[in-house]
Amino acid sequence: MPGEIGTVGELFMLKVLTVLSLALVMNAALAGAALAQQTQVRIAVALEPPTLDPTANAAEAVDIVVYQNVFEGLTRIDENGTVQPGLATEWTISEDGLTYTFTLAEGVTFHDGSAFDAEDVTFAFERIVAEDSLNAQKALYEPIESVTAVDPHTVEITLKRPTGTFLFDIGRPDAVIVAPESAENNARVPIGTGPFAFVQWDRGSRVILERNDVYWGERPALTRATYLFIGDTATLTNALLAGDVDGTNNMAAEVLDVFAADPRFKVLVGTTEGEVILATNNAREPFDNPKVRQAMAHAIDRHALIEGVTYGYSQPIGSHFAPHNPYYVDLTGTYPHDLDAAKALLAEAGLPDGFSATLKLPPVAYARMSGQILASQFAEVGIELELINVEWAQWLEDVFTNHDYDLSIVAHVEPFDIGIYADPDYYFGYDNPEFAALIETLNATTDDAERKDLAIEAQRILAEDAVNGYLFELAQTGVWDARLEGMWQNSPIEGVVLRDIRWVE
């Protein structure tokens, strides 16, 4: 979630530095780069995971290292966000959509040598839904009624009600299968069934994974992967240029041009599940008036925002939905950028001179920069924003938990999370029974075409009600050694999946 803070001064210096470094690289020649490792890779990621157990921590940094590498679930999510077989090689769903029967892969062992069977699956799910569970997504698995091991290679999961996203949800990092023998220690020594086994974690520095040579599935090309934790953009740029790392999953947009122009690198621009929104406290005046929210929507110039904040590397959104999703509908034209319309709506709402409000900004570059640009855009229609910088922990307490805010800017990174608007107690304070009923129907529907219609209807309601300001979808901007292949361009779920990565000459 959190990224880097970039001030104007820092950016300027970054530019000077990158130009300087380019000149130096020319002199140093490409000689050093010739020492390519054929089967090892060093990947830089911004944040160090606090633990390595994805089933008891919400941090994206955990998933980036272990998801699909060390740990696997019954299903897995692929690069396009579709569900693929995982530890369950196939499954059947009963007529009423309540009973899922999974056939488990055979010959699977955990990295500590213990065998994988149906008992591990029941253990893992019982751990998620347990009373004292620390699973960050526990609510997603609440529909589970029971998990039964029919035989060592068959598991039956019964649901309380049909749940359209169930196969996706069990493919998330939060539902990976862990063994009763090792679950306790996964935070420090993760033991999974995946194609890569954990070797060591030098805290503050790196995590090393090695290929699991007895992996039950297709053997990956890489033999060793090192994740290095580098938070500073200038430092990361230098590390890439010096050849100290082979790639990174997400590079700050302001330095991408350096790498795009350098034949030693390739830049992969893709989408993520992160909708950047102007979160609006719908329970508070004057935002409880739809006209005010619509006026704000008219006052937002998304293209200026995208240019200013992400250097054009992002897609605009008109509702709370990721553009790469097959159910997506483009609603960016619902309230086009139109200052006169905005002023007229404000006048109708009884606020012809505008109003003032606070905008709480978490410590990520996209939020801080968007905040400044939005403040100037809103000023044009008389809305004065006071920008308040907060840390993540403070944001979680003030904004998310206590709803003590007017406006905030944040990316919601969970896949398919439009359902959060159905909860009137959520921090948006949006109370629309009609919408809540629609989401309930959507959750219980398993037919794809019907689900699509319902999802589109949901997007439309949010866009028309202008519940929040819908700004843009965060881009994933990876920078990799040009000779590496098989990296995910899009990020439909958090993770840097190693299985297809390989060196080509």
């Binding site: 606090p50 921590n57 935070a187 420090r188 030098d202 430092t235 590390a239 100290d244 993540w392 003030d398």
Partner: protein
């Protein structure tokens, strides 16, 4: 030995007050560690479970004395977010930060003191002016910027040294040493510059004193007089600065470790604060306070060694 005893008592009192300030100030910080760990999709119930597990529900004064009590027997608690013992987390980071700080300190003394002496010996000459301009520059350059410059030249350009990162000592001591070169130099530069200026001023002052004239009158050359009597007397203010420098180094380490992605104490405290890992923040801060006050104590005791007048309460 009242001098030593007084200093020791002061040391203990400082630690207690610092511990109280650290504990209660951090307790006021907004942000719930449990919510941070579980994220925005976790239920209130899961967060409450974790708060109980982390022992966050007891009143502040109870937690304070429990914390102090367990620290006295060497138990610093268990990190909220990382689930590992705080003492172990700090211990493994000290293997990076301590050598780094020591290296920087030795380097700054090795570079700064000779420059200061050289400048003082040639007071008023172009060499003196040149060296002091350089020192002024050294004081003004922020060490993170100097670190980046070093990286560009020696890591990205010449590829002599890594851009950052750290190989543990037991794996490859040579690589570990190489990893500390650039950050050490970046840290040492401003300190060396300060030392050079202080050394020069102190020496210049001392050489005007009567005892130098007496030494000269006894037939010593100027160099002999300065070496045998001047430097030792000029060393008092330099010692003070060296002691103070440890505190500056600690602050510098936080920034430089982030520039060179070194797994040291500075980076640890940086992440611990943003993750509201309060028990870890407290542990690190108290270790730093102990480090700084201990250096002050040692500096005070060193005064007594260098200057016999201080040994017996000024008598």
């Amino acid at each position: 030995m009242t001098f030593v005893l007084r200093r020791l008592l002061g040391f203990a009192a400082t630690l207690f007050v610092a511990a109280a300030v650290i504990f209660f100030l951090l307790d006021l910080l907004p942000g719930d560690p449990a919510r941070f760990i579980l994220g925005i999709n976790a239920s209130a119930e899961a967060v409450a479970n974790l708060r109980i597990q982390l022992g966050l529900e007891a009143p502040a004064w109870q937690r304070f004395f429990a914390w102090i009590g367990s620290m006295l027997i060497g138990d610093f608690g268990v990190s909220y977010t990382q689930g590992a013992p705080v003492a172990a987390l700090i211990g493994e980071r000290l293997w990076v930060s301590l050598p780094l700080a020591l290296f920087a300190m030795v380097l700054s003394a090795a570079v700064g003191l000779p420059i200061g002496i050289a400048a003082a010996r040639r007071r008023g000459s172009p060499i003196d002016t040149g060296l002091m301009v350089l020192a002024q520059l050294g004081v003004a350059i922020p060490n993170f910027w100097f670190g980046m410059l070093l990286t560009l030249v020696f890591a990205v350009g010449l590829r002599w040294l890594p851009t950052g990162g750290f190989t543990p000592w037991h794996e490859d001591p040579a690589a570990a040493l190489r990893a500390l070169m650039l950050p050490g130099i970046a840290l040492a530069l401003p300190q060396a510059a300060i030392l050079a200026r202080v050394m020069r001023t102190a020496l210049v002052e001392v050489t005007g004193q009567d005892f130098i004239r007496t030494a000269r009158a006894k037939g010593m050359t100027m160099s002999e007089a300065v070496w045998r009597h001047g430097v030792r007397n000029a060393f008092l203010p330099v010692l003070t600065i060296l002691g103070l420098q440890f505190a500056y180094l600690v602050a510098g380490v936080i920034i430089v470790e982030n520039v060179f992605y070194l797994p040291g104490l500075g980076r640890l405290i940086f992440t611990a604060i943003s993750e509201r890992d309060l028990i870890l923040v407290r542990g690190i801060t108290i270790v730093l306070v102990i480090g700084v006050t201990l250096t002050m104590l040692l500096t005070d005791l060193c005064y007594a060694l260098v200057d016999p007048r201080l040994r017996e309460g000024g008598s």
